[in-house]
Symmetry: C2
Subunit: 433 residues, 2 copies
Amino acid sequence: MILGGGFGGLNAARTLAHANVRVTLIDRHNYHLFQPLLYQVATAALSPGDVASPIRWILRRQSNVAVLLGAVHAVDTVAKTVLIDTNHPDVAGAASGASQFEAVPFDYLIVATGATHAYFGHSEWAPHAPGLKTLDDALEIRRRILIAFEAAERETDAAARRRLLTFVIVGGGPTGVELAGALAEIARESLRRDFRNIRPESARIVLVEGGADVLGGFPPHLRDAAARSLTKLGVEVRTKSVVTSVDEHGVTMGADRIDAVTVLWAAGVNASPVARSLNVPLDRAGRVLADPTLQVPGCPEAFVVGDICALQQDGQWLPGVAQVAKQGGTHAAKNILRLMRGAQATPFRYLDFGNMATIGRGSAVADIGPLKAHGLFAWFIWVVIHIFWLIGFRNRVAVMSEWAWAFVTLQRRVRLITGEPRLPRGDTPAAST
Amino acid sequence: MILGGGFGGLNAARTLAHANVRVTLIDRHNYHLFQPLLYQVATAALSPGDVASPIRWILRRQSNVAVLLGAVHAVDTVAKTVLIDTNHPDVAGAASGASQFEAVPFDYLIVATGATHAYFGHSEWAPHAPGLKTLDDALEIRRRILIAFEAAERETDAAARRRLLTFVIVGGGPTGVELAGALAEIARESLRRDFRNIRPESARIVLVEGGADVLGGFPPHLRDAAARSLTKLGVEVRTKSVVTSVDEHGVTMGADRIDAVTVLWAAGVNASPVARSLNVPLDRAGRVLADPTLQVPGCPEAFVVGDICALQQDGQWLPGVAQVAKQGGTHAAKNILRLMRGAQATPFRYLDFGNMATIGRGSAVADIGPLKAHGLFAWFIWVVIHIFWLIGFRNRVAVMSEWAWAFVTLQRRVRLITGEPRLPRGDTPAAST
């Protein structure tokens, strides 16, 4: 049984395609989400359908897989069952009521339920600073960004208007950098002609990072290149600034204060709470301290992969990126097949293909083995690799045509405000399980 | 001032493009919605961004128009002001609180706030039978349809599974017929390979109509052709069946009962509640009984167009279709220009270009003047005209490519379940205002 249809779970299912096993894949969403492009949904460049595909559809030809829509509540490693809630708001048809649990038995298990945003123990910040993990998160962020401009257009008080046109992004990793770059482009280019009372290009976009540099995982000269690109786009980059409080009117960093209606969270993540139910030691981010074989200590039939798994390689913790999850999913599936034929599980070895991030249109940084590039060339590599990674020919064509269109016209087509205001569920599981 | 950015309001704004007037257009959504294709969003064939465009963007080059995001609460024809709620859930940034009213003055007014679904006074049916008027409605219906199949896949009880795979559409007008046809295609073709425990093609789809025929507005032989096409697709067509109750387990029609988890409402509409605030006589559907010039009786500066306006022509009530709204919007704007230069307002005359509806892929009925067609040829006309009508070159290309893709592969790309369960707001204004 596989829990989670993200990069890890999906790769595990595909690895088992020709094996004589019955696979059940459980996810609380009916789609696989291509997370690296999620920020483009949040910034109205892509539609949800461009970055997500139904899991059933992806696996439709793999007849040994059954896909179930369900919210995983807990794993019982002793009874070897998974408890799923079939009346969870994510999976219930009409208005959901009380939880309704169902125990599903397994022989072998791969837990790939990912991570959700975490507020360093300050869950009270969650309503004021939504994070970006799911499609619904992305639509909520899009809604907030667009409504801030709309409210500013109506507002007559200068200070209030200023607050509405100030956007703070907390966290200078790839997601934060990409969000900040995209937001700067929206304000300076996409919305330029749309308003009568405000000048969208006067919006203030602040990227707040606790560490010394943005993109801390990259080599130093690429970090500098990224910071320069952001500044050129008009983003205020504030490094060495640790957020000490977030409220509905803005962000405080020690003695410093920024008044802003829109605050976005791209800082911490916590592993999905399913990890806790495994009753094994976890690290500070709630991840399972796995055996080198990806097995759960004391339960050789259960494996953890991706963001829910904490593993060291050559003295370094493996990062929470798509490649680690994908390779982990494949390896865990192969280890299960080894165990089934009576062999030993082998240790997981992550092959690092490199790291990339975009900073607005036509600019990126890439750190791929010997290749360390920034600017237009890096952006071009980024585009090609992301198109190539996308699942489904249809999505590739759609995203390519959207990008070509946006590149030429500077327009972001899907600037639609949908849904009603939503209170983010904070530290509770918003991640795919 | 124009209230509503639908077909009527948008055409009115465009007609005033070169006039020496300052136009304010107020809508509770930031987008113009191409309603004739909304059922395709509900049935996962198109993305919201394919059938909607930001109103600001559509009018970006028309410098005499200011667009405001706001929920219209009431019109005061004596004080000549419009009361808008800037803290309504549709337009508020974070969680919305108490209403916050703002009075906006006008010299001339065009009310084009449209209609919302109505339950013949049975607003208690609303949560069990969502209607299709807004993008959020469409996403809610998509969510319910897809979750019904997912829940059926999990269900082990045969009767419960049967209820989950029964879909009832109430109302045999164009929307009901198009929804039923699209649902039949989803079940028989798009989902065919996706499930392991259920056969989606065994789903039961029932179209319930109170009158003697589906598509009552069409000539008799086209009504018959539509009914035959539906039956061929596997839709159960029940005419002369008046719904007497809807609850969470199904629909009752007199002595007849259908057990179904998913019931969709395509039957009645009521005019937007803004009509009531005008303090003039309304018809049974809450529409303003307008002067032949589209003026509000007793208030020559205010006009009503589209679904909020009740007007007879040659002894027949004008239907609630896009063409009536579009032509009405243009006429009302011209009448305002006439009044401004001291001339008389002239009566509105609707030019009927005809009527169309699709029944699944490759089949439609068209009643366009002397041309009365059905089948593939009518469908082809339908495709061409709808592509042509769509606003924005980008949308045309996107929708065309989606249709070409769907036609070839039978796939519906955007089968994504997003959002949380939503209780429809029933007879309260869900329509664009």
